[in-house]
Amino acid sequence: MVLPLTNDEIAGIIRAVTENVFSTMLGVQVQPGGMTVHTIMADQTEGVVAFVGFTGNWTGSGSIRCNGQSACIIGGKLLMTDFAEVNEEVLDALGEVANMIIGNFKDEAACKLGPLALSTPTVIHGNSFHTRNWNGQSWITVPFTCEGESFEIKICLVPGNAVREPLRPAGLAVRQ
């Protein structure tokens, strides 16, 4: 089953919905960078990842990923509050930003992908972790900068009936 959207089309939707969410809800402009495709997120020494899952004819996930300082700035802009460190409010704000971006992506892509349902967000904050997809499926990644800070939006889509190999490691590993 061939994805009915090209990587460039997916990246274009990511850019449009991310710019809309940040300008409308946070009151800031973001600058998108070039799209990349890869299977493993670069190791992260410290940071936040907020995931939202898709289900339907196509399944997968979308996420926002950034370091703690960027998370504090994004959360602070959304809530009009200054945050010195990542706390529950910042994590909740990042989850909601992911929810809005991925939710709007889902609606914009629906004409090609059909109706999709979303999971509630999952937010991870920690040190020395890396993330990977089941079966080495690829993420389409668009980096952004915003007021000197950076973050990435990632989308992974596979057919909803894709056969999965059993007994492969799950998506998050903590390095020893």
């Binding site: 809309n20 969410v21 409308t24 809800m25 959360g75 959304l78 809530l79 009009m80 529950e88 409010e89 909740d92 704000a93 989850g95 909601e96 929810n99 809005m100 939710g103 709007n104 609606d107 629906a110 109706p115 979303l118 509630t120």
Partner: protein, 128 residues
């Protein structure tokens, strides 16, 4: 007469933003109650009837459309205006919510003005 409001969203961030928007209106706001899902919302309504409900759709335990069904099924709550505020922007969802009795529908991301305008239209009085 002061307007009591129930805000239903599993995101504390969105509840905080909506509290701020309500504070910016010229409405006389009484008590504001918060709930993290439809189950908590029904408990809040059992304890205190409100004049307006602002509710998300995608929530754990009981989603916003299930909450709306429960509210419309109770004669004593049937007149409460309910505005859905959600990332669900498909026409099918909007239509479903309106057919189930939602008075308004706002898609996230939203501006404060969009929320105020929708509240104003629901209540039939200016909010700003």
């Amino acid at each position: 007469m002061a307007l009591d409001v129930l805000i239903v969203d599993d995101s504390a961030a969105i509840r905080k933003i909506l509290l701020r928007v309500l504070a910016q209106t010229e409405l006389t706001i009484g008590q504001i109650f918060e709930a993290g899902d439809g189950v908590e919302a029904l408990k809040a309504l059992e304890a205190q009837k409100v004049g307006l409900v602002l509710s998300d759709i995608n929530m754990p335990n009981m989603d916003g459309l299930q909450l709306l069904t429960s509210v419309r099924a109770r004669p004593e709550w049937n007149d409460i205006p309910v505005i859905m505020i959600t990332t669900e922007g498909s026409q099918a969802k909007v239509l479903e919510a309106v057919q189930m009795g939602a008075q308004g529908y706002v898609r996230k991301p939203f501006t404060a003005e969009q929320i105020k305008e929708k509240i104003s239209a629901c209540l039939g009085q200016p909010t700003h």
